[in-house]
Symmetry: C2
């Protein structure tokens, strides 16, 4: 006999179309995302009543937009990150006119997820920086040798960056192979930390195929890297989840949004910004979530960014709050304005803007740092 707790997690789907189409879509979601089977042929009442999605609400948002609130038995997810995403949107990602707007998980479900190992407080403890926004930059451009990248890392650490991450495009190219790069950059940052007394963290990009991502994380740990950068859109969210739980690795993780954009670029299909870059990243174990800030070279709005921030920090059972890490076109002149909006618990990620500020990278970093110490 199947035993279900009766606990549900609740998803708000935004459905476009006329009311009849929207109601049909809502019923289809309940079936397609669970049993994917002709409802009339299901004889087992447990499956009919408790596995098929349950409708809690249906209401108009506008003349052609509807909000359908559907609950699923928490056991359908097997408490596995990949299967949670599958129940939420696996097959329905293939249909137009349906978008995930909100996700609410009960305590009985959240306790199965480890979440971020450090979160905002844990990350501040590692850095010993408690009262200002944190600063991050990226090692680039792709094509530099491991030696040159390490030189940049040294300068950035000397200049007072809190995080120095690999650019998310640095993989295992032969011109800066992963192992050599991580060894040199971690050593360079450690040397700078000895000189400054800071605790700057170097975050190598461990994104890679299959178990290689995990092998890379272990190498990063061994070489003394201070954290990890990963793109779950490329590795799967399950790899992030797996790494966050690893007691032997025990490193803060920053997530990158690469290859996830198609979920948020359409207003009528996909997943809301706050759910994808806030809730999913946090639930899977990121301690900081990188996303493109408004007003830079990407098109996220201020409201979309604020919804990410809210989902990074709002109450979510015992799952720790995490840092929003806006990037993608942040420049020096914008730092005061952005600090006013984001407050203290934010990581500003400045790449190009840091290099463009002036010829001396160390001085540019110091200038950036002074902007948030005012």
């Amino acid at each position: 006999m199947m035993i279900l707790s009766g606990e549900k997690f609740i998803v708000d789907y935004l459905i476009c179309g006329d009311e009849a189409q929207a109601r049909q879509n809502m019923h289809d979601i309940c079936v397609e995302q669970t049993v994917e089977f002709p409802e009339e042929l299901i004889t087992d009442s447990d499956i009919k009543d408790n596995i098929i999605g349950h409708i809690y609400d249906f209401r108009a948002v506008s003349s052609h937009q509807w909000l359908a609130r559907i609950g699923y038995a928490i056991e359908t997810t097997a408490f596995d990150m990949t299967q949670l995403l599958n129940v939420l949107f696996g097959n329905f990602s293939l249909k137009p006119n349906v978008r995930i707007e909100q996700l609410q998980m009960p305590q009985a479900m959240l306790t199965h997820f480890y979440g971020p190992r450090f979160g905002i407080n844990g990350l501040r403890d590692r850095l010993r920086v408690f009262n200002r926004p944190l600063l991050c930059s990226a090692l680039k451009p792709m094509g530099l040798s491991a030696y040159h990248l390490a030189d940049l890392a040294y300068k950035m650490a000397l200049g007072g960056m809190d995080f120095i991450k690999d650019d998310h495009g640095l993989s295992n190219q032969h011109f800066a192979p992963f192992e050599r790069r991580v060894e040199l950059c971690a050593t360079a940052v450690a040397r700078a930390n000895q000189e400054t007394g800071n605790h700057t963290l170097y975050l190598p990009n461990i994104t890679a195929d299959g178990e290689t991502a995990i092998k890379h994380a272990k190498w990063a740990k061994e070489m003394g890297a201070g954290g990890l950068l990963i793109s779950p859109g490329l590795t799967g969210f399950g790899t992030l989840q797996r790494l966050a739980q690893d007691d032997a690795i025990d490193l803060p993780i920053m997530s990158h949004p690469a290859f996830l954009g198609s979920f948020v670029t359409s207003p009528t299909n996909g997943i809301a910004h706050g759910v994808l870059f806030g809730q999913f990243m946090r639930l899977a174990g990121a301690d900081a979530s990188v996303y493109p800030n408004w007003g830079g070279r990407f098109s996220f709005t201020k409201g979309e960014c604020e919804s990410i921030v809210s989902n990074c920090k709002s109450k979510m059972g015992a799952i720790r709050a995490i840092f929003p890490a806006p990037g993608g076109g942040i420049t020096m002149p914008r730092v005061p304005e952005l600090t006013a909006v984001y407050g203290c618990d934010v990581i500003f990620l400045m790449g190009g803007g840091l290099f463009r500020h002036g010829p001396d990278l160390v001085e540019n970093c110091r200038y950036f740092r002074a902007l948030v110490e005012k």
Copy 2:
């Protein structure tokens, strides 16, 4: 010194907007997808000339659509599936108005990818079926016990299905735990094969978090499963790649499109159907690619399905041709029409339609089989 072969892989991006915007976007792609760095600050000529994307063509498709052909140094991918996707569309997935239409890879790049282990010919050899479309069904609904699912598997094998896959929603839920389910279903199919003399393959769904997918694949092998089902949208394409290359596992792999739909639902952002469900699946190592057929309960058009077929089978260096596996609403009456369109080298995936046909599952399977043996 950096050494590049000079070999490029070529991507056609469809860009929407007026000509000036489109040209700007094209230049931005070249930089954003590679160095992500202010071009004017790059002094290294190798990086400037060979790492930044190279424009080969720009032309109007309509009054507000443009095709930009961009080449990237093959070495930027590190010959890693995840990094290939990152160069193709990592950051630009986050921008509206850009869609990948076509991908061409030179021989020097393709030789680094293992591709599908079996492909069409290898799969036919395993099944010893050479002259008709192949048939697949799915074990469901979610909520059945492992024992009940195994009973369905036995009946489907007895009825002459070539493939019996787990429904993609069967994960490791406690009502049909992965290990127990695979053991029972593989045993049931082996028993049926002994009775029929057929070589029906059972494909358990190994999709799971991190290394668990690989652990599941090993368990499937040990229990005598005939193949694997995986959703690379959930596990990452790199996990598919990793499994296809494993000599010890040595099992055919069927890919499922779950959680990939948002890449294809917008005409102005994402990745063309043929590239995503044809080329990517094939390059990463799927022997068969499941996708929703036209005219069923999903919205792919016949033309989109044909572009997937074409990319599954067209010349691609030494990478084997693979089976298109249309599903999502195929019914008995449509089989003759679909056979006329798809020809012999196709896997018809019928789930609900097979159960709906009549009360006796074995007879339903025999009926389905007879439709393709005519």
